[in-house]
Symmetry: C2
Subunit: 192 residues, 2 copies
């Protein structure tokens, strides 16, 4: 078997071991192709897709939100995001979340990248969208308190990383990818 | 209260609602400063710090591993990483994980950034280390099968992102930050 095509382990058994409103934990008994057996645990979300939005009011700036992060019991700076409602497509969900969390809609939204959180033990995936050509439009959301919206230069990522409240890997990855995508577009425009 | 200093919600009650070998789920009853009350759930890890290593065999290349990702039941390309053992510092842990997962040690390892996973509902933090001046050294790890190690140009991030098995947000964020840090060092050297 070539190293580029590993053989997946066999799942000998799987069992739900714990469940709450938000999470389900599953235990897997695995046999790897070399015969080694291991018990793994993985976390299953509720199966609804998630979206994260890089919303740019102009070609140099991006909207960030500051919201209460229960995992650390402190406020964190990140990108607007949320779950896709049943029957909703990801573009509509991204625009709705942007209206709820930032009070802005976007005339143009396009998929940028799909990110995973911790593929070794979670099945979570998030669609990152790039939203441009914004206009003011607020929808009521389910947030317990209004989110603080900050506008930052997308080229100021190093300064953002120096902040203690800016650490969420998905938001950081999304902003770097958006910045590089925009730089590449500018370079190709100035080339032509 | 200035928008830069939001008042944290009060935690009215907290309760462990589910537990497995790897995870513990806690329910929080919160009252926000505007009086709104909400029930949140958050996931607690086992409290051991985690490290992720950007290991560079030369100034242009980085080591990536391909390992079985149980969350998706498929192989994923990512950076070497692991938990800090009791009594270990993060530098020693990073070097040990590098020896176990890539068969390499590093004469120089330095902290690059600290990343969180999903601060809204997890308390997980990961220290990203930059490892350089590598040498061959293999330690036995607890992996069920040998990891596939791939060497990639750090400037090839757009090509990596086009791969279906490269999607982990922490690895992507770490590689962009390492690449920009190295670019900035090169620029300052050529300036002087």
């Amino acid at each position: 078997m070539a190293p580029s095509t590993p053989t997946k382990p066999s799942i000998l058994a799987r069992e739900d071991v714990a469940r709450s409103n938000l999470f389900a934990i599953e235990r897997l008994e695995l046999r790897f192709s070399n015969g080694a057996e291991r018990t793994f645990e993985r976390l299953k979300g509720r199966g609804r897709p998630a979206v994260m939005i890089v919303a740019m009011p102009d070609p140099e700036h991006v909207l960030l939100i500051r919201e209460y992060a229960a995992g650390f019991d402190e406020y964190a700076l990140t990108l607007p995001k949320g779950l896709v409602d049943p029957g909703e497509d990801i573009i509509t969900a991204g625009n709705r979340e942007l209206m709820e969390e930032c009070g802005m809609g976007a005339r143009r939204i396009e998929p940028l990248v799909e990110l995973s959180l911790a593929p070794n033990y979670m099945n979570h995936r998030m669609q990152v969208l790039l939203a441009t050509d914004l206009y003011e439009k607020r929808l009521p959301g389910d947030e317990p308190e209004p989110l603080l919206v900050e506008t930052h230069a997308i080229e100021s990522l190093p300064a953002l990383l120096a902040r203690e409240d800016f650490h969420e890997a998905r938001a950081i990855a999304a902003l770097y990818i958006a910045r590089d995508t925009l730089r590449a577009e500018r370079d190709s425009e100035s080339w032509w």
